[in-house]
């Protein structure tokens, strides 16, 4: 009886829609007319749709660069903060606050920071004589711009790492130091193995988040994914198909491909994780 809200919610908001979208993915469904079964036509069209491949590669590009970049920056910051620094709370707040900024406000702000003419970043580059990329106006620089922006919001991961570092046994460091291990060796053989569950967690979450990357790209390109489709990410193209072209069946097919990719990749990460993730004792 107590479970009823969960069961109801699960049925109404997850199981039914999930099954329905699987069914629609095999239908021609132009929204205003009822769905008509067309077999695998949507999937076959998708595999011949160049924009589909473009959106897939855009998303892969973003995931491959933004996730490790965020992890590295967050990990370095956490290591520094773990050096018994004074004013830890102040630093922690400074690094964490950007990550709670509403995505829309953050995107609007960054769109202007990255503005080729008036933006802070190019003004800075100009003053030291570096070349000025066109950022969101240039197809070659639009994705790097979004990746740079993503590093601004890594505060959450930093906190996760910082908490994890508290659990690394101190005496191991002392023993290693007595044995003459240098900083790099200590990092490689003590810190990273002990932190691997946390690193693994953020890797999985980062990947799942990157696969669904949407809001920033939508806001910064007015929902177009431009210039020349350079920021047309998978979720953005899915959204366009559904709510701009009203190709609901096609969009559902995309959603299921997304789900399968996420599922397979997550399973792959978990399967291989035994090799590089160390869970101290039976934790």
């Amino acid at each position: 009886m107590f479970c009823s809200p969960a069961i109801l919610g699960l049925l109404a908001f997850t199981l039914y829609p999930a099954l329905a979208s699987l069914y629609y993915s095999f239908c021609n469904y132009p929204m205003l007319k009822p769905p008509v079964w067309v077999g695998t036509a949507n999937y076959r069209t998708l595999f011949h749709d160049p924009v589909f491949y473009k959106s897939l590669s855009n998303t892969a590009y973003y995931a491959v660069f933004a996730t490790p970049l965020g992890m590295i920056v967050a990990f370095l910051l956490a290591l520094l903060l773990n050096q018994k620094v004074k004013g830890l709370a102040v630093f922690r707040t400074m690094f964490f606050v950007p990550s709670i900024v509403p995505m829309v406000a953050g995107s609007v702000l960054w769109l202007w920071l990255l503005n080729p003419q008036y933006g802070l970043i190019n003004t800075l580059l100009r003053s030291v004589g570096f070349p000025e990329p066109g950022w969101m106006a240039d197809p070659a620089w639009a994705k790097p711009a979004l990746i740079v922006m993503s590093a601004w919001g890594i505060g959450g991961w930093m906190l996760v790492y910082l908490a994890g570092l508290q659990d690394v046994p101190r005496d191991l460091y002392e023993a290693a130091e007595i044995d003459g291990a240098n900083l790099l060796q200590r990092a490689r053989h003590i810190t990273i193995p002990f932190m691997s569950p946390h690193l693994f967690f953020t890797l999985v979450m980062g990947f799942i988040g990157a696969a669904q990357y949407f809001t920033q790209a939508y806001v910064m390109t007015n929902g177009m994914g431009g210039p020349v489709d350079s920021t047309k990410f998978f979720s953005l193209y899915l959204f366009q198909n559904a709510f701009q072209y009203w190709k609901m069946g096609y969009a559902c097919a995309m959603a299921w491909i997304l789900f399968i990719v996420i599922l397979l990749f997550t399973l792959l990460l978990f399967k291989t994780s035994a090799r590089y993730v160390y869970y101290g004792g039976e934790r």
Binding site: S21, P102, L109, Y118, R170, L263
Partner: protein
């Protein structure tokens, strides 16, 4: 030492404090370097905010002038009034956003904690299987359920109302259920048994024992849910059509193309949208930080 400032991070301070004293202190140079990197990095994180604030009070004619623009040449608060005027219905957007966030936070907290209580304490056949099923829905990307949900809400005549933004929260969220359940599991069984012997009903055990004991985790979930709904963009974008029904995030996003290059108003408006979230953060900093760590390390 980190423990003394960050008392909220961990409760094993006495153990590692003893360990720390024995630790070899890092060389001075390395510490100085750490401070330099931290201060530079911290300032870099704050510079975008500073730039936004500075632009929001600048004269519109001055934004193209040379210089980094971190310090405004003028201080024109009227920009904020202009921005509000350009937004057309700022008070409606605020009202819509407040309505959605308040209802979703309260509704979500109540139903998620109730379900978490059931999963943590009540015995029922298939309970754990059901729990796994609920948790596994976290894995399902929103894009999969998005279109059928849209059809359902449209069929109910809820398109262009705030209901599709509010109602789903009342059925609990898998993530909140998970966090609260983990906390409930740590509450001693004896407490519950004692209450039951005294004739306490199950609902009263939940309401008068579990909820008051779980304030930290409830606050964490509440803040998470507050920021998630305050910032949500995709759901309002899908369901809201009329100008006056929009939420703040949606209004800000849709106005940016209307305003074109009016940086000044845009930055003033962004500041206004951001302010409540920052305020909430500073009020609830402890819980947000804790929640972030909880969701990350125990996930």
């Amino acid at each position: 030492m980190s423990k003394s400032d960050g008392s909220d991070m961990s409760d094993k301070s006495d153990v590692s404090a003893a360990n720390n004293k024995g630790a070899v202190t890092a060389p001075r140079l390395r510490r100085a370097l750490a401070y330099i990197v931290l201060i530079t990095g911290g300032l870099l994180m704050l510079v975008p905010f500073l730039w936004m604030l500075s632009r929001s009070v600048e004269l519109p004619s001055e934004v193209a002038s040379p210089g980094l623009g971190l310090i405004p040449k003028h201080f024109r608060l009227a920009n904020y009034a202009d921005a509000l005027k350009l937004m057309k219905y700022p008070q409606l957007y605020l009202y819509n956003t407040l309505k959605v966030t308040a209802l979703t936070v309260v509704g979500g907290l109540f139903s998620s904690s109730l379900v978490a209580f059931a999963f943590a304490r009540l015995r029922a056949p298939g309970r754990d299987l059901l729990f796994i099923l609920v948790i596994s829905t976290i894995m399902l990307p929103a894009q999969v359920t998005m279109i059928p949900m849209f059809m359902i809400f449209r069929g109910l005549g809820w398109y262009d109302t705030l209901l599709p933004l509010i109602v789903p929260a009342f059925f609990g969220s898998a993530f909140s259920i998970f966090l609260i359940r983990q906390f409930f599991l740590t509450i001693p069984k004896d407490l519950e048994e004692a209450a039951r012997i005294d004739g306490c009903s199950t609902f009263r055990i939940y309401w008068q024992i579990f909820l008051p004991l779980s304030k930290p985790v409830l606050a964490t979930v509440a803040f998470f849910s507050f920021t998630a709904h305050w910032n949500d963009f995709m759901t309002p974008l899908i369901y809201l059509n009329s100008i006056e029904k929009r939420t703040l995030a949606l209004a800000l996003a849709t106005f940016q193309d209307v305003w074109g290059v009016d940086i000044v108003s845009l930055m003033a408006a962004s500041t206004l949208v951001l302010l409540p979230v920052l305020l909430m953060f500073f009020i609830g900093q402890r819980y947000i930080v804790q929640g972030n760590v909880m969701s990350g390390s125990k996930g």
